[in-house]
């Protein structure tokens, strides 16, 4: 159970009174913290992220939220704010990102146990993974994918070590079916997010049997193993079979995979007279025709005048061209359009 040596929060509102008073007085409220439609009326405030600093006092119990309250905060952010469409998504993202970061900090300060930490972190991971996809085409001033990736990786590492701790616990209380399902989903997300890296593969190989037997995990892991072996065909065939958010995570890797396939093909089909039908490439790169032409232009691959076939010439391939930025993919959009986001991000309903 909870470790008594550490401060336990006692605050039951999203924002402790002291901070709320101060921020209202100093007019430091975020757009999402004003009452709807009214300019200067405070609405629901959520505790803001602050760094730990040498001059800051040790937080008091009443300035920290209880576990139940933290869970409610996460739910509020990922439901009410996430679905708030008054402002562009990147602003909602900034707000949620900051407030979730404080939740994460409170987990650390209050030294929650593995089970508590997992419950709070899993939705954050889903949120970061989703946002990474949704905002991938935004300019850098509006969204920084690097920072998002970094936080996602940190959250993942934290939650994975909590899973390990529960695996190693002396008296194991069996996880509920829901808990096990959530874990398999997050483990799969970790695999796809770290596609083909040795660390992730080694972890995947040594996971407990019940995770390795999970259908989604098996699919995700086989994609990673095929990537490791260099069988990109199977990677491309496997990706669209992944569920919604995992597909979205995979989309971030697609441009690299496409580039690699094209580069391999410029060697394999290297011939001045011969051409390769565009239809074949559309199948293998998961792109729409217009986009394929864009790819060809970018990497300097010639098309036949009727645009039905490609000329692959090894020496023409622009190997110093930068890999195209990740983008929203139609097959992912389709999957995401069929889900109710808050339910999925809060891992209440993972399957259709």
């Amino acid at each position: 159970m909870a470790n008594p040596r550490h401060v336990r929060g006692s605050c039951e509102s999203f924002c402790p009174d002291a901070e709320a008073k101060m921020r209202i007085k100093e007019k430091l409220l975020n757009y999402f913290e004003y009452k709807d439609g009214q300019k200067h009326v405070p609405g629901i405030l959520v505790k803001e992220f602050t760094r730990s600093a040498a001059d800051a006092k040790v937080p008091k119990a009443k300035d920290m939220r209880t576990e139940r309250c933290l869970m409610k905060t996460v739910e509020y952010l990922l439901k009410d704010i996430l679905m708030d469409e008054r402002k562009p998504y990147h602003l909602a993202y900034d707000f949620i990102f900051d407030r979730l970061r404080m939740v994460r900090r409170e987990i650390v300060i209050q030294q929650f146990n593995a089970r508590q930490t997992i419950r709070l972190l899993e939705p954050m991971i889903m949120f970061l993974a989703y946002s990474r996809y949704r905002l991938c085409t935004e300019p850098i001033e509006k969204f920084d994918p690097k920072i998002c990736n970094q936080h996602l990786q940190e959250c993942l590492n934290m939650v994975l070590s909590c899973y390990n701790e529960l695996d190693d616990a002396v008296q194991k209380d069996q996880p509920t079916i829901r808990d096990a399902e959530r874990r398999c989903f997050i483990e799969s997300l970790y695999q796809i997010f770290n596609l083909g890296t040795p660390e992730a593969l080694v972890r995947g190989l040594t996971l407990p049997a019940q995770v390795r037997k999970d259908e989604i995990f098996k699919l995700a892991f086989s994609i990673c193993m095929n990537y490791h072996q260099g069988n990109l065909y199977r990677v491309i065939k496997g990706l669209p079979q992944l569920p919604h958010i995992l597909c979205a995570v995979a989309a971030a890797k697609l441009q690299t995979i496409r580039r690699r396939i094209l580069e391999i093909f410029t060697h394999a089909y290297n011939n001045k007279q011969l051409t390769v039908p565009a239809a074949y490439l559309l199948r293998l790169t998961l792109v729409e025709p217009q986009e394929l032409f864009g790819l060809c232009r970018h990497y300097n691959i010639a098309l036949t005048p009727d645009r039905q076939a490609l000329h692959f010439i090894k020496t023409d391939f622009k190997s110093d061209a930068e890999t195209i930025k990740a983008q929203r993919e139609p097959f992912v959009e389709q999957k995401l359009s069929r889900i109710y986001l808050p339910e999925v991000l809060l891992l209440r309903k993972l399957w259709l």
Binding site: H228, A268, L284
Partner: protein
């Protein structure tokens, strides 16, 4: 067995006065007979020790006696024993710093660090309440403190410099880092050894261990040529009587060499009880994809535990290459039908393969330089080069 504490302590004192590092190391070893002497299990030995020994040696010995005390408890208190061993290790650092231009106490440092690692491993195994690998990581920090003192000892002459202790410590640190899967931490250590002016004068056993770990690391970095070089060095220099060590080296050396196109001799594998690789090699040679997958699947646990599963999975494309080479040998022409390759794959039991995938596999092999030629999509043919269409793997 010394009998009384005072006997033990005067033994320590004599060894220190004689600059006898080896003997001193034995007095502080957890594997020596003296650890069975009940008279030495003392919870608060400070007063006794201070009377006989000068600082910081008194700290080293005092902490050692406490380790014995905690280990003698029922059940052994590994956590406190570890903490005392760590204290002993820090005292050794002080001792090293004090002894300028002398290195006779290196054996003591080796011993204390080795026991520290063993105790950390015991804690990881028996104790709870920390993230796995945490204690080992802390142990590595203690050893790093020793390492820093040794590495910084640049002024002493080649015989007396504590830098001679670097490789022993590096090997110990490797063992920790490999265990807790933090291979990136090895890099600065390797650089330190590489920059060492007299890296050839480290003792041979240490060099063998060093090459073994450096080779394994190169393997994880997919630097296979380097890996073969280092592991081969370790294998050839390791004396025959250390069969299990030679076997350990082979576990990595054989698959890396297979990746470069060398197949192992059966007699060698037999001698080291590694026939699993013989079966793999046969499947590889025959291009039997299904058989290969089967063996990998059957031996999954063994391969995962030895840390070569991912490497062996990389051999898959070589299996394809060998299969396709056979198609070429049968057809005896330079324009090969792609459907022949598809049939070959199906023949060896890959049932879920399509023409698109066959194209992709061959494309990959061409890109990697394992097949010389090009594919004509319109004619569905692979046109291979007249010279050396399947170049030897070592050259690719």
């Amino acid at each position: 067995m010394f009998g009384t504490v005072n006997n033990y302590l005067s033994g320590v004192l004599r060894a220190a006065e004689d600059y006898d590092g080896d003997n001193l190391a034995t007095f502080l070893s957890l594997r020596d007979v003296h650890v069975q002497n009940h008279n030495l299990y003392i919870a608060q030995p400070e007063k006794l020790v201070e009377r006989m020994l000068k600082p910081p040696l008194d700290e080293v010995v005092g902490a050692h006696l406490k380790v014995l005390y905690y280990l003698a408890q029922e059940p052994p208190n590994y956590m406190d024993a570890y903490n005392q061993q760590a204290a002993s290790c820090s005292a050794v650092v002080k001792l090293l710093q004090q002894l300028k231009d002398e290195n006779w106490c290196l054996p003591l440092m080796y011993r204390v660090c080795l026991d520290l690692r063993y105790l950390a491993q015991a804690c990881e195994k028996h104790c709870r309440g920390f993230t796995p690998g945490h204690i080992l990581e802390k142990a590595a920090d203690c050893m790093m403190a020793c390492f820093r003192v040794c590495a910084a000892d640049g002024r002493a002459s080649e015989e007396e410099t504590k830098r001679l202790g670097m490789m022993n410590l590096v090997n110990q640190l490797f063992k920790v880092y490999f265990r807790i899967n933090k291979l990136h931490l090895c890099k600065p250590l390797i650089r330190a050894i590489d920059n060492c002016a007299f890296k050839e004068s480290f003792p041979l056993p240490e060099q063998i261990t060093y090459k073994y770990f450096v080779g394994r690391r190169a393997m994880f970095d997919s630097n296979y040529r380097m890996a073969v070089e280092d592991l081969s060095y370790a294998f050839t220099h390791c004396p025959d009587r250390f069969t299990s060590n030679k076997r350990l080296i082979l576990i990595y050396l054989v698959p890396v060499k297979m990746l470069l196109g060398y197949l192992p001799r059966k007699s060698l594998l037999e001698r080291y009880d590694l026939l699993l690789f013989h079966d793999l090699a046969l499947a590889l040679k025959a291009g039997n994809v299904n058989k290969f997958d089967e063996i990998v699947h059957e031996q999954e646990l063994v391969l995962i535990r030895s840390g070569i599963y991912l490497l062996v999975e990389k051999l898959k494309f070589i299996v394809y290459r060998n299969l396709f080479k056979k198609v070429f040998a049968i057809r005896q022409t330079h324009q090969l039908d792609m459907s022949d390759f598809l049939s070959a794959l199906q023949f060896v039991g890959v049932t879920d393969v399509s023409m698109d995938e066959t194209h992709c596999i061959i494309a990959n092999l061409i890109y990697d330089g394992k097949i010389k030629g090009y594919i004509s999509h319109a004619h569905n043919k692979l046109v291979v080069s007249k010279q050396n269409p399947f170049p030897p793997l070592i050259s690719t």
